[in-house]
């Protein structure tokens, strides 16, 4: 008798074995003559420069932090979802169980939605875009003269 987690383990093992077999078979089948160009890291045709580990924008960190907290919230939803619609428990309490569990989870999620609303309203979720640099041209020719030229020759 295999338990449910045994199935998961079997899936993991079979995935690893299949991947290993495929890579091994491919290694025997494929031609193998590497050179320096082929071995370099593919970076959209550019020569790779420097370390691959670059600094990220701090905004990713805030989003990741909020994600972790909502993931913890999600974890509480799983045991609730298993017992929420349980017919045995509903029958024992004349239907009060379902409404009670629903109300409790609404309160739980409502409290956390306050946090999301706070982060949203305070602008923690806003993405900072770099300022666009509009090129400024100081031309001695006034702008309406360009417009006249465009009107005269643009239609052709």
């Amino acid at each position: 008798m295999i338990s449910d987690f045994g199935y998961i383990l079997l899936f993991i093992i079979s995935g690893l074995v299949l991947l290993g077999v495929m890579l091994l078979v491919a290694k025997f089948l494929r031609p193998d003559n590497p050179n320096e160009e082929k071995l370099s890291t593919y970076e959209s045709g550019e020569d790779p420069m420097g370390n691959a580990q670059i600094q990220f924008n701090i905004r990713f960190y805030i989003v990741a932090l909020i994600f972790v907290l909502f993931e913890v919230e999600l974890l509480f939803l799983f045991p609730w979802a298993v017992v929420f619609g349980n017919e045995e428990l509903i029958a024992q309490t004349n239907g009060a169980w379902g409404w009670f569990a629903m109300a409790e989870m609404t309160v739980f999620i409502g409290i956390l939605i306050l946090g999301l609303a706070y982060a949203w309203a305070k602008g923690y979720l806003d993405w900072v875009r770099p300022k666009q640099q509009i090129p400024e041209i100081k031309s001695p020719v006034p702008a309406d003269m360009y417009k006249q030229v465009n009107d005269r020759y643009g239609s052709k």
């Binding site: 580990q53 960190y61 972790v68 409790e104 739980f108 706070y118």
Partner: protein
């Protein structure tokens, strides 16, 4: 079969932890931490705590490890003149090393005390195969309702505090 799985996952967790200890590259250490977390989650499952195992995978592997990676990426100093083969060494002053050593020894002492005072049973009742998630759900909705709602408040406080602290208030950037 289960004994083999237990020793396999224990070896995975311990080897990954040793790799973290001796690795000079922080990113490799973070990826080894992934393996260590997976091994520990499997040990939880083998001990009959299936919900804890899934929670371990979801929160630690899916969330906290990602945060850790971001931490490594964000705190790395911009040294560009060195090549891509450079190790990501952590350079700390000697006083912090001493304090870290003292605190590490202290934690090991506390954990050793707990392990030696614990009363492990090497044999006896078999671990029941029933899932614990239904029990946890009923307990959360009945006898542990107040802690459940307090957990929501705690998460709210953590969310607001974390977002407030993580905001970049440096006007230079």
């Amino acid at each position: 079969m289960e004994v083999a799985a237990f020793y396999g996952f224990s070896a995975l967790a311990i080897l990954a932890a040793l790799f973290i200890l001796f690795s000079k590259n922080l990113i490799y250490g973070a990826f080894a931490l992934l393996l260590a977390f997976l091994g520990i989650a499997a040990l939880f499952v083998l001990a009959g705590a299936d919900f804890l195992g899934v929670a371990q995978i979801m929160i630690y592997v899916g969330g906290i490890l990602v945060l850790l990676m971001f931490g490594i990426m964000l705190t790395q100093r911009a040294i560009q003149q060195e090549g891509p083969s450079r190790h990501n060494r952590v350079e700390v002053p000697i006083t912090r090393k001493v304090w870290g050593f003292v605190i590490g020894i202290g934690i090991v002492g506390v954990l050793a005390k707990i392990i030696f005072s614990a009363n492990f049973r090497m044999s006896g009742d078999a671990v029941s195969r029933k899932s614990t998630i239904k029990t946890i759900g009923v307990e959360l909705m009945t006898s542990h309702l107040l802690p459940f709602e307090i957990a929501a408040i705690l998460l709210l406080v953590a969310l607001i505090g974390a977002a407030y602290l993580a905001l970049n208030r440096n006007p230079a950037q």
